[in-house]
């Protein structure tokens, strides 16, 4: 299943890698990423394309939400066919 996750994170050391590392570790492949800085708040907004064959995106969202540098998480689901995780992470 493909998903799009919007994350707002604090601009502190390690925040982005912590969020991205968690996404991959919990069984999702990152298929696209777009980052932009919100100037007034100095927060970073990430629009991340994700793919997983069998993991729950809602559980992932709650896991990311627990990170102390993450300000907000929202999800947008897309109905594209999923591919197997091993294929999606081919490396």
């Amino acid at each position: 299943m493909n998903h799009t996750m919007k994350l707002t994170i604090r601009r502190v050391e390690g925040a982005m890698i912590r969020a991205l590392g968690l996404i991959e570790r919990r069984g999702f492949a990152v298929t696209s990423i777009n980052a932009s800085e919100n100037q007034p708040s100095h927060e970073l907004e990430l629009i991340i394309g994700l793919r997983s064959a069998d993991r729950s995106i809602d559980v992932l969202a709650r896991q990311i939400e627990k990170l102390f540098d993450v300000c907000s998480v929202s999800l947008q689901q897309q109905n594209e066919p999923a591919i197997r995780l091993e294929e999606s992470m081919a490396c």
């Binding site: 050391e13 390690g14 890698i17 590392g21 968690l22 559980v59 709650r62 939400e65 990170l67 102390f68």
Partner: protein, 550 residues
């Protein structure tokens, strides 16, 4: 003016820290210099893994945040196993590491590793301090994060130029403790409906009951509802293990009755547990007819592995207090009691050799208030099966990580947490060698820790699996060239004695537990002893292998 190191020490003191476990080295030397003038008690271990596991044991036994300190590079990497251990068992821990000066970071400097990056997957949070004035705030946040909600480890990485630089002391950061709220009323309503309509409910207690200080509330609810109780490895002691309502530990090496009761249940009330694979066996066959009410402090655990029909997030005591009592469960209670009776442990093993389950049962009965720390392996499972625990803090075990070498450092931590406590480590001949250097710490501080070393001259649990699941193709499990453990202990200043026959066990237990100072009992058992029963990997908990008669 103060240095960053002095500021750190002052911040630790303000947090109420009394004891820290650590090992000095180059990049952390400013902190060790500041410790000279501090009222903090520093416990010098002999390996950084000993420091972090001792801090872990301190935290488990006391409920307070454990603190360990190490230098950069190898000092920091030696903490990693212990940080992972605290992460997987939700133990509140603050690990402080020295780091090379900021100007050298990223240059592959001497003793430089990116410990901040390396530990990201196994910390609840971490900080790399780049401004000396941030130290009090970071320490305050670290302690708050380590202990709030679902506890866990927090890393503070401190470059040497930061701890060496001076600052006028900024105001110390104060964190207002954030109390966990109560559960969502709609979910409570759903949960109450499920419980009232259940005919065969089971309370499934995890480590969260102890961690969340919900033992009293759990016991009150178990008693008022009359619902039978099973526990995970970390949930042992949520209800006293000798309580009639306690059926047993579930899972791979659990009690058969506990697994039977769970498999027959129509409702699981999961309290601070996380459907770990060692508890559930094959997940899609676990409690197949049961609906689930899940009580937890951590939102990420809800429906992670098993769908929750009702999720009560927040403080466990509040959630438990919202559940219905006065249930009519008589036929179910009777059936559970019958299963428990039918599956009770037997201690009449044939032969002259030492039967470890019976020995451990006797140890536990000889001193019901013992704090027992375990290493990892067969002896760990035997402790969980056969020792009795009146409260969760009595049982210190590396459950999630299964880290061999946990036992002795954890016992050291527990003894510092409560100097009056009677602390026993049960270890194996494989595990004890993983942190044997900490015998020097026991001797250095003259800690009265008792060590019960169960020696089967092999890596017993691996050997058992090779026997059962790998066609008896034994691969690298023979430890028959072990050292003379009594002589080893003696060389560390710890007296010891050897136990080889069943007839010696009672006197040995007495000698071990009655000794004034530290003592090692080296117990030699049959190398082919196995842990029974056993759910084979990949099977459901319906399939439990029993002891195969010789």
């Amino acid at each position: 003016m103060m240095t960053g190191a002095q500021l750190l020490v002052k911040a630790l003191e303000q947090e109420g820290v009394e004891t820290v476990f650590g090992y000095p080295g180059g990049a952390i030397m400013p902190v060790y210099d500041a410790l000279v003038d501090s009222r903090l008690d520093h416990v010098l271990v002999r390996h950084e893994q000993g420091a972090v596991l001792a801090a872990d044991g301190y935290a488990r036994a006391s409920g307070r945040v454990g603190v360990c300190i190490a230098t950069s590079g190898p000092g920091a990497t030696n903490l990693i196993t212990g940080i992972a251990n605290a992460y997987l068992d939700s133990v509140p821990l603050v690990a402080i590491t020295g780091q090379v000066p900021t100007a050298l970071m990223g240059t592959d400097a001497f003793q430089e590793v990116d410990i901040f990056g390396m530990t990201m997957p196994i910390v609840k949070h971490s900080f790399l301090v780049r401004d000396v004035e941030d130290i009090p705030r970071v320490v305050g946040e670290a302690f708050h994060i380590a202990s709030e909600g679902r506890p866990g480890p927090v890393l503070i990485d401190l470059p040497k130029d930061i701890t060496n630089s001076s600052t006028s002391q900024p105001p110390l950061f104060e964190v207002k403790s954030k109390a966990l709220g109560g559960p969502d009323p709609d979910q409570v309503k759903t949960a109450c409906g499920l419980i009232r309509s259940a005919k065969q409910p089971v309370l499934y207690a995890g480590g969260g009951v102890g961690i969340g200080r919900a033992v009293d509330a759990f016991r009150d609810y178990a008693k008022a509802s009359g619902i039978p109780v099973v526990a995970t490895l970390k949930g042992l002691g949520a209800l006293p293990t000798r309580d009639p309502a306690f059926i047993g530990m579930l899972g791979m090496h659990g009690n058969q009755a506990a697994n039977e009761v769970v498999q027959a249940a129509d409702l699981l009330i999961c309290v601070g547990a996380r459907f770990d694979d060692r508890a559930t066996g094959k997940l899609d066959g676990f409690a197949p007819r049961a609906k689930v009410v899940h009580l937890d402090a951590d939102p990420a655990e809800i429906s992670k592995l098993r769908h929750a029909d009702a999720a009560l997030l927040g403080d466990l005591s509040q959630s438990l207090a919202s559940l219905p009592t006065g249930l009519s469960l008589e036929p179910w209670q009777r059936w559970c009691a019958e299963r428990k009776h039918a599956r009770q442990w037997r201690y009449d093993a044939p032969g002259e050799g030492i039967y470890v389950p019976d020995m451990l049962r006797q140890v536990s009965l000889a001193d019901p208030e013992l704090i027992i720390s375990c290493d990892v392996g067969q002896h760990q499972m035997w402790v969980a099966q056969h020792c009795h625990f009146n409260r969760p803090e009595q049982h210190l075990t590396s459950a999630g990580l299964g880290a061999m070498g946990f036992g002795i450092p954890a016992a050291i931590g527990a003894q510092f947490a409560d100097p009056g406590a009677r602390v026993l480590t049960v270890s194996g001949d494989g595990s004890i060698m993983m942190n044997i250097q900490e015998l020097a710490t026991i001797n250095r501080y003259q800690l009265p820790i008792k060590i019960l070393l169960v020696d089967n001259s092999s890596l017993g649990l691996v050997r058992q699996w090779q026997q059962l699941f790998h066609g008896e193709r034994y691969s690298e499990v023979d430890l028959s060239d072990n050292p003379d453990f009594v002589a080893v202990a003696k060389s560390f200043g710890i007296p010891g004695f050897r136990v080889e026959r069943r007839t010696q066990v009672a006197a040995a237990i007495d000698r071990l537990l009655q000794s004034e100072g530290p003592m090692l009992a080296h117990v030699c058992i049959d190398p082919m002893s196995n842990v029974w029963p056993l759910v084979p990997p990949g099977q459901t908990n319906d399939v439990m292998l029993e002891e195969q008669s010789a």
